[in-house]
């Protein structure tokens, strides 16, 4: 393992750059030799990867230049300083273009990008620190946890990022993951502002979502929706929690599992999946899960909101006089392909004590399409997308929205 130069304490994106020895013009290499720095000196300074990087190494280079040249006079009629600065600026621009100012002067991370060993527990602390800072700036981990230690919090943040970036979930920072971080992380020193609705919706770092599919449909339509949903969840990296997996259930705060509810998890998300039919246990299970969830996704052909919604799915609107202790402060309700109408929405909202927003589609679609809409809603929630993203899930179907994620300007400004 090569030793990694620590970024100086006063490091900032504007005072750091790098020079690639092999990319230096021959004229500049000759001028440096004339000023007392041979090509061998340059290679010694650059080390294994042939790059002179960071303020310390660049200062070291200048210290080797003989006195008159160090005073920034021209060598062979050309300004040595300007020529080196042009190299630094060009490389900085290249790093900027690739979004990689955070990483491209770190040889360990450059090695990862070039297919070397991925970053994981016990990896170089400085490199881990840089990755953690990027994850923190993306809003995926708390700044207090940025410590250079590739621990459980780091792994969780990496997994969540991999899920959002549609990458295989490996918990390690490999070349695709680092490449995606370069592309997605905001410039150093800035943070991506997460929509406050999501902060209100999530408990800690976890969003609990109830998915109820097929309400009121014939058995065969529920079966189709169920098969589509299961395939879609597996494709997205969700894992089903076995009823026997007591440790995971307890970790999720679910010591008493309801057998009518299937529990799935992915980093940052816990799903309660119910396929409600007309049986009382399934209706009750749907109701309980929905009341305690941060987001509720319903889909069903004959599913309507209001009295019918209540009777078919078991969702009991929370009474203002008796708010549920489990009720979240904020709840997103998405309804798909259910014939919902504005009056029914009003009835539901009027009877709801928590701050609930409704996003519904009145389009009559097939059961598989409804399952895909629910999966699309899940994707938007997982990446904390905007109202426009939710509308896009519904495509051409008639959609109503009530202000959810209306302050999209936060994201625009942050980007």
């Amino acid at each position: 393992m090569v030793s990694v130069p620590r970024a100086p304490a006063n490091w900032s994106p504007t005072n750091v750059g790098y020079i690639v020895v092999d990319e230096l013009p021959q004229a500049l290499v000759g001028d440096l030799a004339d000023a007392g720095v041979s090509e061998e000196d340059l290679r010694e300074l650059a080390g294994r990867d042939g790059v002179i990087r960071g303020a310390d190494e660049l200062e070291n280079l200048f210290s080797r230049i003989d006195e008159p040249s160090r005073a920034l006079v021209a060598v062979n009629g050309r300004s040595l300083f300007d020529a080196l600065r042009a190299q630094v600026d060009r490389n900085r621009q290249r790093a900027d273009d690739r979004g990689g100012r955070r990483f491209l002067f770190d040889p360990v991370l450059v090695d990862v990008l070039e297919g070397g060993p991925s970053l994981g527990p016990r990896s170089n602390a400085e490199s881990v620190y840089r990755v953690e800072q990027a994850l923190s700036d993306l809003g995926l981990m708390a700044s207090a946890d940025v410590d250079g230690d590739y621990d459980a919090k780091t792994m969780e943040a990496v997994e969540r990022f991999q899920l959002e970036a549609d990458l295989p979930i490996t918990s390690r920072v490999d070349a695709p993951t680092l490449g995606a971080l370069i592309a997605l992380a905001p410039p150093p020193g800035s943070r991506l502002v997460r929509l406050p609705e999501y902060a209100r919706m999530a408990r800690g770092d976890n969003v609990q979502v109830t998915v109820a599919l097929g309400a009121g449909d014939r058995p065969s339509t529920r079966m189709r929706a169920e098969a589509e949903l299961v395939s879609g969840l597996l494709e997205r990296g969700y894992s089903r929690v076995s009823g026997d997996d007591v440790a995971t259930l307890e970790a999720l705060g679910l010591p008493g599992r309801d057998p009518h509810v299937d529990i799935w998890t992915a980093p940052g998300t816990t799903l309660f999946v119910v396929m409600p039919d007309d049986s009382a246990p399934e209706r009750i299970a749907t109701s309980r899960a929905a009341e305690a969830s941060d987001a509720v996704l319903f889909a069903g052909k004959r599913f309507t909101i209001g009295e019918s919604h209540r009777s078919r799915t078991g969702l009991r609107a929370r009474s203002p006089a008796r708010p549920s202790t489990n009720a979240p402060d904020y709840q997103l309700v998405c309804v798909s392909g259910c014939g919902a109408d504005a009056a029914a929405e009003d009835r539901l909202l009027a009877r709801t004590s928590v701050d609930t927003d409704l996003f519904s589609s009145a389009g009559a679609t097939s059961e598989r399409a409804r399952a895909r809409e629910v999966l699309g809603f899940l994707d938007v929630i997982a990446r904390q997308g905007s109202t426009d993203d939710l509308a896009a899930v519904l495509g051409r179907t008639a959609a109503t929205e009530r202000g959810f994620l209306s302050n999209r300007s936060n994201v625009t400004e942050a980007l």
Partner: protein
């Protein structure tokens, strides 16, 4: 397919228009069913699946007059792949012995979509006599989506045997999505009070 006269086509358009009143749609059913022929069984059956109240009753009567089960069973046997798949899906609405027999036969159809639709349709029929065919489909079909559909259909099948078939299949299945759906099917039977 039989050519449909323009006035019948207009009536079909009214029937399929959600903005039309129930009375207008019932009148449209009468016009369409008087025309007769196999070509209108499909659109009437589609509307029947979504209808309720008096419209559903009227559609049921019309489909009975048109001998919809025989028409769809014939299309399931002799139509092209797309028609067969549609016929299998719509036969789920007609819980009659002839329909069930046709669907059991369709579990061996060369087309995957037909086999999937037949399995799901049998899930609606819930006829204990289909246990063997669904078990065989879940055990030996080469397409995971067909095995999943058979497993889900077995979840709803009354009588003994389905639970054991599901548990045996769970031990031999190696596709994760199918295993999960089999486990859910078993759970569903337990939920309904079936003994371990």
């Amino acid at each position: 397919m039989v050519a449909i006269a323009p006035d019948v086509r207009s009536a079909l358009a009214v029937l399929q228009d959600d903005r039309a009143s129930e009375a207008e749609r019932i009148r449209a059913v009468t016009i369409v069913s008087d025309f007769g022929g196999s070509g209108i069984v499909f659109p009437l059956a589609v509307e029947y699946a979504a209808a309720d109240g008096s419209l559903k009753t009227t559609l049921a009567y019309a489909l009975g007059r048109l001998d919809a089960t025989s028409v769809l069973a014939s299309e399931l046997a002799y139509g092209d792949a797309r028609t067969r798949a549609r016929a299998a899906e719509l036969l789920s609405l007609f819980n009659e012995d002839a329909a069930t027999r046709a669907l059991v036969g369709a579990l061996r159809d060369p087309d995957t979509d037909v086999r999937i639709n037949a399995a799901y349709a049998l899930g609606d029929h819930q006829d204990p006599s289909t246990l063997t065919a669904l078990t065989e489909g879940m055990r030996s079909d080469t397409v995971p989506a067909v095995r999943s559909a058979c497993a889900l259909a077995l979840a709803a099948l009354p009588g003994p045997g389905a639970r054991a078939a599901l548990e045996t299949a769970a031990q031999h299945e190696d596709v994760v999505s199918v295993i999960i759906l089999i486990e859910r099917a078993i759970q569903r039977r337990i939920d309904r009070g079936e003994a371990e």
